[in-house]
Symmetry: D2
Subunit: 317 residues, 4 copies
């Protein structure tokens, strides 16, 4: 972006800011922090809350209003985005003693970008609807880098008429905003994708490991898979074998990326959804267990592609 | 191909035929038949053998010499291609009472395109080498259609200096001939690819099934997976859910394609190789069991993408 | 028991009846019905409720008071037993609009014999405690036959001081009443047992099936396993192979017994508990998926030992 | 045994020795050594061979004849026992350049106590039969301790008329000699038992681990399982949780016992047999993979009950 355009944009933003109504943001952690900053950059006055007060301080300096509880946010803003680590946290922020629902205004738009059980999203939607407000689930794909760059993907579930209103805000934080269907389908899309991702990552690790032990060169094997029916994102874009690709966690001792513990969490959600809907997911279930075992064996903080390393080590006999 | 080019080609072939030395072909089944025909089309005099005499008849009409045993083929041709259904058949054709090795000439080139245990390929290579001849494994990827069209992929293992000689013949039958390394690595590449294929196919079936039960539209879910990290050949090229894609077995009641029983066979080979090399393949192993259960439940002859159907059916309660 | 003792006992019961305070019983289904009858037989005046009024009628004839809601039961009895099919039903009976907690008296003893998620038991215990009452979980082992005969096993979780009071009632319905620890541990013991049961049943089915295909006589194989380290309840008491034992479901086309769909439910609870506590359960998880697939393939109502039949059928090729 | 009886026994043995014909013994490793010694103790002149000459030395001191090859053994003894670590070793000892079959006498009885693929046993039996001799497979259950004490269990496959002749020798080394059926069924019985053992051991470890995390006391949980349908040899005789039982490997940091690497080997044989007979073994297959992963993570030499430790460790997050 050259400077001229930047100035023009900035003035556009400043002008826009004057007319924009505030947006609440609850949950300013690793992901929520850069997401909320992108809202500020796009000129939205932000009403912030986080359970850890220090997480809010930075936003105070950016001109955001900091509040004492989710209820306070709901009192001051009629559009709120929540970004929380788990189902229980999310339930608490919405329905707790100082939760959003205590003071939510009629007609408010509440967008939850946390990754949680879709059944919980549906429960929350019902509770929100009773208060005359609207709930949408909008979990994200893409990590901290994408959150900073503003090119997350949002998978959105909820009443279709409200999608445009949600999209207006989400576009400030993501480059891809997909409408998935009724409430809960945003979560559903995300956990289905991540379950398939985990399965094909472990499958890629197994196939590469087996091929190497049978005498194949890893780069050559990756090339063959990628031009054949074994091709997948884990083999052609994020190969788990050190030395095959550059710029991926396997090239950097499995640092950065998407931690095994986060993958285990998403697979746990997939498992719960599958159990509730009586859907057989034999490999998804096994993938969950493998990431669980990895977490128990010291791989919790490594990128999820470290499953190659977990499976590879030589027997001592 | 228009007629003119066809005539020119034909005359080229005729000319070539005059100078070409014969090629033996053993195993004229579903795959071997069209492969051998492509050799004939390219002007190679073919010396044919199959355990079922009727399989040879067609080749007699095409001008091929038909023989009584693999040994007879070895007596009359110093380049031989074998295409057989399993390890024991292949061992028998090479080392049996009337096997190739009984009369193989020094310097002969023996190319095995069967899909078998790479450890067996290595054993055969040793036995062939003792007779002063050369063995290469060259299993194929692609089904009967690709065999007819002459655009199979060959994955070739063996001494590198002999690769060009092998390639000359294999190019008549395939559009892609890849050198993989020492003897056995052709098999290794194929079974690693097919193991990963089975895993990602089952994973795709699970993810699509779970998503549908959670309220997602199948076409939309496929689109989301294909633009995300869940993308794989099974989701974007061969989707197992009826109605998502056209021209794939799932659009045709899972007829045609690559049968579940063949996939179970290849996964059995992967399992044996993994056991022999002490390589953990938890999902590959589970995929093997799932195709085994499918075969036991009436899916043996359906395309392997029918795993979606196997997992989908509703509980009766 | 000879007649004299019986008469003496009967008169003891009659005397006792006069002085016994009423016991509430909520959930008069397949299991609850014979359990409540055993309370009546032991002289307890029963205050009954079931969501299906016809389920209560029989109890009216037996002299029980029938009420209109769980709240009504709580108004009239300070000891209540609940026996319900799932977590949501149980939550509703306790915390719903006409639930027990609406009218529970201080000091009441509430015993839940449903098999549910132990985390739900803990939540209910907290809610009950807030009302000044006591909650214990006491799921049962043993089927309808044991319920009728009054020899169920109860696994009881809750405050230890209250165990004797609970045991007084449970002894009328079961021959074995085991104190397991704090609230939720009754459920925990049950789901751990049933998870191990499912695993060893499937394992027995696999081992028997493999042995038979390798040429062993099933009775001989069962005998060898039962005198060796493969011995388990599924091999020596409930063998899944027809013809090996008499008086078990495998001798009766897998009718009766413990249905596959019930096993799938318990394995789902084990899975949820394992996910919540981040415990790896690779075989428990796979057992869950196998019962899920069985239910999807028409085995929902057969005894869970029918997994032998599910795995056994011959391939068609 | 008091001294008097010992002297009497010794004199019986000495007398018997005079009339007993020699027995060959090939493979004097951890298991073969004490087994062969028990033959000596029972008065059989032993003709010994091992690929490591030092393994024979001890037997020379005991009065055994030591030979240079399996062929030499076959020349001097018409009853031979083989105890070798794997299928390839066994094939070599029978059919190699200096193998038994080079000099086996007509009517000889060859008993193989190695644990190998039953398909290999059948192949060897055919080759032996061609030479006019008899082959039986007789793998053992019980470890080094049982081998020393002479109370191994032998599972014997082969022609029934020869069973008594085999039993005469095997009774010197084992307290339990079971006839299983045709050749290969001894191996089949052993691998089926060990597959079920591995499954129920992992299941026990999972159930105990889950129960402990849900708040149950390990000893109490073991007691409950052992009086319920979860009962198995792994829970009641060889419990994998430290502190639950005494005198088992879990009480001794998983030292001694049956190593994970040996279990992985037997599960590999079960897997190969299942693949060859197209038998679905979903849990057996997963058990194999779990022991494979354990071996890759440093548990190769620990007792196989250490799977509890493998699964138990806490996540670092």
């Amino acid at each position: 972006m050259n400077i001229l355009i930047f100035i023009v944009l900035k003035s556009v933003c400043s002008r826009a800011m004057a007319s924009k109504t505030p947006v609440g943001f609850i949950g300013l952690g690793n992901m929520g922090n850069p997401m909320a900053k992108n809202l500020v950059k796009h000129g939205y006055p932000v009403i912030a809350y986080d359970v850890f007060p220090e997480a809010c301080k930075e936003f105070q300096d950016l001109g955001a209003q900091v509040t004492d509880s989710p209820a306070d946010v709901a009192e001051r803003a009629d559009r709120i985005i929540t970004m929380l680590p788990s189902s229980p946290n999310t339930i608490d922020v919405y329905t707790g003693a100082n939760g959003i629902l205590k003071k939510v205004k009629k007609g408010s738009l509440l967008i939850d970008s946390s990754t949680i059980d879709p059944a919980v999203s549906k429960e929350l939607a019902k509770a929100v609807e009773k208060m005359g407000a609207v709930f949408m689930d909008a979990p994200v794909s893409g990590g901290i880098g994408a959150a900073r760059a503003g090119n997350l993907t949002f998978m959105v579930g909820g009443v279709e008429q409200e999608f445009d209103a949600a999209k207006e805000l989400l576009t400030c934080m993501g480059s891809n905003v997909i409408y998935c269907g009724e409430v809960g389908t945003g979560q559903a899309a995300k956990i289905c994708n991540n379950m398939l991702l985990a399965i094909s990552m472990i499958g890629t690790a197994e196939a590469m490991n087996l091929g190497i032990r049978l005498g194949l060169d890893p780069k050559l094997l990756a090339k063959i898979l990628n031009m054949s029916s074994g091709r997948c994102w884990s083999s052609d874009t994020y190969n788990p074998v050190p030395g095959v690709m550059e710029g991926v966690p396997s090239a950097n001792n499995y640092q950065g990326g998407f931690g095994a513990t986060l993958m285990a969490k998403d697979l746990g959600l997939a498992q719960i959804s599958a159990t509730n809907t009586k859907t057989p997911v034999p490999l998804g279930s096994q993938a969950h267990q493998i990431y669980r075992m990895m977490c128990a064996k010291g791989y919790a903080l490594k990128d999820f592609s470290a499953v190659f390393q977990f499976l590879r080590e030589e027997e001592t006999l």
